[in-house]
Symmetry: C2
Subunit: 136 residues, 2 copies
């Protein structure tokens, strides 16, 4: 019979992991499937809500709004609403969000490299990658 193990205080441990590992810190902000994808869409500049939605057809409205709100709360994106009707709302990256460009760009580079080896192809190639030629 094995002894009772002590992997109990997970929540406490998460704090120390959070303090020691910068990647953990990042994942707390942009972890999950959709956030990097949304941020990627906003790299090319301010976009209306409906444009983001159309750019990512696989996401549902509920989840999109939810993720946008979280990104806004974490200071990565900025929401601007014009008080007109029909409503006109744009989302854009904050300064902090902009600083994620190297992360997203590195991801894109890796994806293109890796997909070359495995046969997948992107319609959008890196020449058109938003911000490929500036401070990335």
């Amino acid at each position: 019979m094995a002894r009772i193990k002590e992997q109990s205080t997970i929540q406490e441990n998460k704090r120390s992991a959070f303090e020691e590992c910068p990647v953990t810190y990042v994942m707390e902000k942009i972890g999950g499937y959709w956030k990097p994808i949304i941020l990627f869409q906003l790299l090319s500049g301010s976009k209306r809500y409906s444009d983001v939605r159309r750019a990512i057809p696989a996401i549902t409205e509920k989840v999109l709004i939810q993720q946008l709100k979280q990104l806004e709360a974490d200071g990565l994106v900025q929401r601007k609403a014009m008080p007109v009707v029909p409503p006109h709302v744009t989302y854009s990256l904050t300064k902090t969000g902009m600083r994620l460009k190297p992360v997203l760009y590195a991801m894109a580079v890796w994806a293109v490299d890796d997909s070359k080896e495995h046969g997948a192809v992107f319609r959008r190639n890196l020449k058109n990658f938003p911000g490929a030629n500036d401070n990335a």
Copy 2:
């Protein structure tokens, strides 16, 4: 009464999103909370299973193994088992996994920058970041 909307064929749509957005491609491989953290630990070189576990106390054994297996299946990490007892198993990054270094490094840079603004502090700073001085 609103019409019935058609956000049905999510699975089909995921394919097109996957083909158009490189970030989606990346998220399919390293998405989720733990994978980047595990990869980060392996950046500094080959490690025994138990070393990885001790380096990430917040993760449970089940999840760690599970994530390692997935990373192995996706060709990002390599498992080497020596047929001795007690078992001796090491994990290391594959060539493909190594190419993620710029991604992880960019994340770490962002985390340090961002935490400076918000008061958080890391015990491990970027001077000690594995591979900070080479082909990142």
